[in-house]
């Protein structure tokens, strides 16, 4: 969504189509080109470890964007996100193991499986709200993880399913640099699809449902249908992220999909800032990198070795502390901080926004 902040001088539109553009001004285009160039150069300067981090961030970003659509825009709480990622990963894994299915079949298959699961587990949302709905989505998590575990043991893959690197034609995606660009494109596609949905009829219907269901209904919005649609689209995207995760790791196993993963995704959208796609991305970056930052910080302490065993505990604790700090001091999340900084520079040397809202 284009920023709503006022500009120092004027920017005047001469058609309604102009107002629909995602990028309107030359400055915005320049910023995008610079950002894309930086993303394009990064893999050629980064170490293998940094590339891995970037790939993890892209995967997390797809999941966070999908959850943001569902929770941040349509207002439906879900704790089943890890279950959906697992469903996508297992769809890819099982299709590969049982039928030797190709990448370009397993990814759409994961999308379809995700959509179906979303449809089924969206049904409780027609009756339940808030915490009650969240608890009902927990069932999704446990069912998927149980079925995945059963498959692993029954078929004798008790340590997990190994997946070969995906092959498109004669081309094998194995190199980290290639993976970087593949995952980047998927994340960009997820972002673009979401932006488009949010600036049209469906996005407005979701926002209406989030703020007032009865009113949305009275305006002619089919509330149940749009809630289910939110679940279907979000789950489908998440399952694709899961399938990519399986391929990227080359390995699918239930251990990777704990309930903590769901909590992490919820944390991403809260820390990033509810109701903002930029927030979902910032949250994905933050939550993915936080454990590594903590590990690094602990390693700097004197006697670092003696703390090594407590690293996991440190991680969980720091995670909780960060969540609490954000909820208390920055409920708008990272995106709130970003907007304040942006405003500061846009308005300089003034401090306050003009009354009455200014431009769109």
């Amino acid at each position: 969504m284009s920023s709503r902040e006022p500009r120092a001088s004027g920017y005047f539109r001469s058609s309604y189509a102009q107002g629909l553009r995602l990028l309107e001004t030359r400055t915005q285009w320049t910023a995008l080109v610079l950002f894309l160039t930086a993303l394009g150069i990064f893999p050629f300067t980064a170490t293998s470890f940094q590339l891995d981090l970037a790939c993890q961030v892209f995967l997390a970003a797809i999941g966070a964007i999908a959850l943001m659509l569902l929770t941040g825009y349509a207002g439906q709480v879900s704790l089943g996100h890890a279950g959906l990622i697992a469903a996508g990963a297992f769809t890819a894994g099982i299709l590969f193991k049982e039928f030797g299915a190709k990448f370009w079949i397993t990814i759409p298959a994961a999308a379809v499986v995700g959509a179906l699961i979303g449809l089924i587990f969206g049904l409780p949302s027609l009756r339940l709200r808030g915490l009650y709905l969240a608890v009902s989505t927990l069932a999704l998590h446990f069912i998927v993880v149980y079925l995945g575990g059963e498959y692993e043991t029954k078929r004798g893959f008790s340590t997990g399913i190994l997946i070969d690197a995906p092959r498109v034609g004669d081309f094998i995606i194995r190199d980290r640099k290639i993976w970087y660009f593949v995952l980047l494109s998927f994340a960009a596609a997820a972002l673009l699809i979401s932006l488009n949905l949010l600036r049209s009829r469906t996005g407005r219907a979701w926002a209406a449902i989030r703020s007032h269901e009865t009113i949305a209904e009275a305006l002619g919005i089919g509330v149940p249908a749009h809630k289910l649609l939110a679940f279907v689209i979000s789950s489908s995207m998440t399952a694709v992220a899961g399938a990519l995760f399986g391929y990227y790791r080359g390995f699918v196993s239930v251990e990777a999909f704990s309930l903590f993963l769901s909590i992490q995704y919820v944390a991403m959208i809260i820390i990033g800032g509810m109701g903002s796609l930029l927030g979902a991305i910032l949250g994905a970056v933050f939550v993915t990198l936080l454990p590594y930052v903590i590990e690094y910080a602990v390693a700097q302490l004197p006697n670092a070795r003696s703390y090594a065993g407590m690293l996991a505990a440190f991680n969980y604790a720091a995670f909780g502390v960060v969540m609490i700090l954000f909820l208390i001091f920055e409920p708008q999340g990272l995106v709130g901080i970003w907007r304040r900084v942006q405003n500061y520079f846009l308005l300089w040397p003034f401090k306050q926004k003009p009354l009455g809202g200014g431009r769109k």
Partner: protein, 255 residues
């Protein structure tokens, strides 16, 4: 031409009877005021019509029985309403609120929206233009891109009114549109209501407590008390009716 016909509308919540046997009919371009003391059931009548409450009895819109239809289907048929406290979407701008009101008229599907195809773009532009006409109509030009949460209450009520109008309804249900407005805003509202009646020919059911406004503007009054119809007729006649005066002021036991 009768637009909306309500026959023996009864509404019960458990043992509580909120409406019993309310009947009236509204014609095209008629400004029909629904009055009565607090708790008389005025808003309940609107809620039944718009499908939010399940009432007994029949409600016919242009001859078609709409009782029992879900709220969004009633809205799609062309019955729009405003709410007592505006009940807008506070995080959206005025223009976005109005576009949301046009939901049922916008013909795009989510698959095309994902790619924002040309047809979606054309549709969005067309509806943005329609919204702009409504914004013109209710004189909200300077607020079109302002977030509704940042607007004063009086302006918010006008936005709520505009959002209902954006649905291009055949019937407009107005739930106390003037409550909380100052004198200037009331005059604006009166002007908009008259323009809707004369220029757009939309029938309106109008709940109102400002008796002066009702007496000046309404074509016909319907008085409710304790969920029953008391009387129905032109304002001058109804407002002099001793039963109506008694309903509002209470009758003195002796005389």
């Amino acid at each position: 031409m009768v637009e909306l016909e309500i026959e023996k509308l009864t509404l019960r919540f458990g043992g509580l009877t909120v409406l019993s046997g309310v009947s009236f009919a509204v014609e095209k371009a008629e400004l029909f005021a629904l009055i009565g003391p607090n708790g008389a059931g005025k808003t309940s009548v609107l809620n039944c019509v718009s499908g939010l409450y399940p009432g007994e009895g029949t409600i016919r819109f242009r001859g078609q029985n709409i009782s029992g239809l879900s709220a969004h289907n009633v809205a799609r048929l062309g019955i729009a309403r405003t709410f007592q406290h505006g009940e807008l979407f506070p995080h959206m701008t005025v223009a976005e609120n109005l576009l949301t009101g046009r939901h049922a008229r916008i013909r795009t599907n989510p698959l095309k929206e994902m790619f924002f195809s040309d047809s979606v773009r054309r549709e969005e532009v067309a509806h943005r233009e329609a919204v702009e006409k409504i914004i013109d109509f209710v004189e909200l030009e300077r607020y079109r891109n302002t977030q509704v949460a940042n607007l004063p209450f009086g302006t918010q009520k006008i936005v709520g009114f505009a959002r209902a109008l954006a649905m291009e309804p055949a019937i407009l249900l107005l739930d106390e549109p003037s409550a909380g407005l100052n004198r200037d805003e009331r005059e604006d509202l009166a002007r908009f209501i008259l323009r809707i009646k004369h220029e757009l020919g939309i029938a309106m059911i109008w709940i109102e407590h400002d008796m002066q406004m009702v007496a000046d503007l309404a074509d016909r009054l319907h008085v409710l008390e304790y969920g029953r119809s008391v009387t129905d007729g032109p304002p001058q006649q109804v407002l002099k009716d001793p039963r109506v005066i008694a309903a509002y002021l209470g009758s003195s036991g002796g005389s």
